[in-house]
């Protein structure tokens, strides 16, 4: 008997009880401005930054990598430096989630997975209307692609519980509403 059969035999029959439904998740009706205000406060508390497109002029003089959507938006060529050598990665994200200052970013054509991970600075462009209040709301818009939720800069507190940013991922996260 293979392992699969052995395990399923040991597990026996499934129970009959059904599960409780999740309680309704309130989706507060806030204006985009109000949602962005919450997002900015939470992001800054995590050590991330909110910026604007002018900030990019200086930033993009450093070795960088751009995903296709961001490149089109900025009128630049996509790609750029080798993703391992890039100091800056610019991506346009699917959604921003206000309650936790989280970015939702899916994979797809023209979207290198490593662009938001290997550089020391991750710049996330978020179209202003692509913001929702809660995580539950964001999950209703999840696609079937591999997706990452990013909340602030990479961090660790493994050494004596002391917070260090940028241990493996970007230590600096700049979010630009566009």
């Amino acid at each position: 008997m293979g392992d699969r059969e052995a395990i399923l035999t040991n597990l026996g029959k499934a129970g009959k009880k059904s599960r409780l439904p999740l309680p309704p998740a309130p989706m507060p009706a806030l204006t985009y401005d109000a949602l962005w205000e919450i997002f900015a406060t939470k992001l800054e508390a995590l050590g991330g930054r909110i910026g604007n497109l002018q900030d990019l002029e200086v930033i993009l003089s450093r070795p960088h990598v751009l995903d296709v959507e961001s490149a089109t938006r900025l009128g630049r060529k996509s790609g750029g430096a080798d993703v391992w050598a890039a100091e800056v990665g610019v991506t346009t994200v699917d959604l921003a989630i206000a309650e936790t200052a989280t970015l939702m970013l899916s994979t797809g054509p023209g979207r290198p997975r490593l662009a938001s991970l290997t550089p020391t600075l991750h710049v996330a462009l978020v179209p202003k209307e692509r913001i929702v209040a809660t995580m539950s709301e964001a999950f209703t818009q999840l696609t079937d692609r591999t997706t990452v939720l990013i909340t602030g800069p990479s961090r660790t507190a493994d050494i004596e519980g002391i917070l260090v940013r940028g241990v493996h991922g970007p230590g600096d996260v700049l979010v630009i509403p566009v």
Partner: protein, 454 residues
């Protein structure tokens, strides 16, 4: 070799270590409660809901696991089943040999399931270089140590010890600044991520409805390990499945708050298969290994609810015994109150008969558990089981107490003889009297007073 009890271990522990473990666990407790208060208007309700979902999962694994398997396959994820540790090691080695027959580096993200099956040793023995990439796990590995906490593996070490290890390994000039130490690790491990053909991770949640593997982390090493190499192998205890994607927000928020006092963990990686044709990076193969290793047996026994555990570590941080003894005292991959139940439940009480006694039964573990596992009740059950099987011996004075206190006559007789008691050793005397004096009896007897009152 006789394994020392938790109590013995804690007495031999260096003061420095006790202080590291104690201060780090205490610091986490307040952060946790603040984070959860912000995240949930009704925390009690959220915990009850999470416990109920987990119970539903534990009752419906015969349906949920095949559903997960099917959906994963549709996503291009290869699914393997492993009934025990050796079967899991064999399966994983086969995948590695197919992907990198000539050996080479394997990058690893932190995973308790792979600790449980002692995977690293097996892969190293078969010619692979296995590199732990979580900062804490990396220190554990270069020091040839074992993790002493399921979330913060080097809770027992201070920065000086880390600094010495990094200097010894040639990571850079000696520094005791945590941020500089972290950067040394970043630079050193970057090369490993680039050259490794295989990445191995655990699994925090796997969603049956969508066939998606969910990984939760703060550093980014887990994303790197599961994105940069050509092959990703995820090892999952079979209880980690969740029915639906909409269940995730509840569990992610409970886990972030309970584990590290965060509103949300930095990276939630939701993997729906290998890189697709239209993508430029990501692994070409993703494998999911579903591990039993004793779990199906636990499901049909009295310790079933321990499998609700989402490995947040909150019960370790609040436990007075864990704080004093450290994770290594438990002689098991899983430590603290969680480990004191899960260890014997998975491996049999015969192997770890003493663990259930490593508790004051203060109940804090159950109070903080995000999925409301009745740990104190199960610890009592384990003690009872160990006793019944004759695995632990009650100390003679306690046996005398149990005889004497269960009949009125014997109790009164015992009381008359109490003045003789100082010649006997008090059952709690060892350990206690190093620090405190036992009080001497003062005043009158309650019974004499009660009978004589008018």
């Amino acid at each position: 070799m006789k394994i020392p009890s938790v109590e013995k271990f804690s007495r031999d522990l260096a003061t420095e270590t006790v202080e590291s473990v104690r201060s780090a666990s205490v610091a986490k407790v307040d952060a946790r409660s603040n984070a959860l208060k912000i995240a949930f208007d009704d925390l009690e309700g959220a915990r009850t809901q999470a416990a109920q979902i987990k119970d539903y999962v534990l009752d419906n694994l015969p349906n949920l696991l095949p559903q997960l398997e099917l959906k994963c396959r549709l996503n291009g994820i290869e699914v393997h089943w492993a009934k025990n540790a050796s079967s899991a090691r064999k399966t994983i080695l086969e995948i590695c040999k197919a992907a990198a027959p000539e050996g080479g580096s394997i990058v690893k993200a932190k995973s308790m399931a792979t600790e449980e099956i002692h995977l690293n040793k097996h892969l190293i023995k078969n010619g692979y270089e296995v590199v732990e990439t979580d900062l804490g796990e990396y220190v554990v590995q270069i020091d040839d140590d074992t993790p002493s906490h399921i979330v913060t593996p080097i809770i027992h070490k201070n920065r000086k010890q880390v600094a010495k290890s990094f200097e010894r390994e040639g990571l850079g000039p000696y520094t005791e600044v945590p941020s500089e130490l972290a950067m040394q690790a970043r630079h050193h491990l970057r090369e490993k991520f680039r050259e490794a053909k295989i990445g191995i991770s655990g699994v925090n949640f796997a969603v049956a409805e969508s066939g998606r593997i969910v990984l939760v982390e703060n550093e980014g090493n887990n994303r790197l390990s599961t994105t940069a190499p050509d092959v990703h192998i995820a090892v999952m205890g079979l209880e980690k499945v969740l029915p639906s994607e909409t269940d995730l927000p509840l569990f992610l928020r409970l886990l972030a708050g309970s584990a590290t006092g965060q509103q949300m963990t930095t990276y939630i990686h939701m993997i729906s298969g290998p890189r697709r044709k239209d993508e430029m990076d990501g692994p070409k193969e993703v494998h999911l290994v579903i591990l039993d290793n004793g779990r199906s047996k636990v499901l049909n026994g009295p310790y079933k609810e321990i499998l609700r555990c989402i490995r947040c570590g909150a019960c370790l941080n609040v436990c007075p015994v864990y704080r004093q003894a450290s994770g290594h005292a438990y002689n098991n991959v899983y430590s603290g109150p969680l480990g004191a139940v899960l260890g014997p439940a998975l491996e049999g009480v015969e192997k770890l008969p003493d663990l259930a006694k490593a508790s004051t039964l203060c109940g804090s573990c159950e109070e903080v558990c995000p999925v409301k596992i009745p740990i104190p009740r199960m610890l009592l059950q384990l003690r009872e089981e160990a006793n019944r099987k004759g695995l632990v011996k009650e100390m003679i004075p306690w046996s005398m107490f149990s005889v004497g206190s269960t009949s009125g006559f014997r109790w009164r007789l015992g009381l008359k003889m109490l003045p003789l008691a100082p010649i006997a050793k008090h059952p709690a005397k060892s350990g206690w009297e190093e620090f405190k004096d036992l009080p001497t009896k003062e005043g009158r007897d309650f019974r004499k007073w009660w009978n004589g009152r008018s």
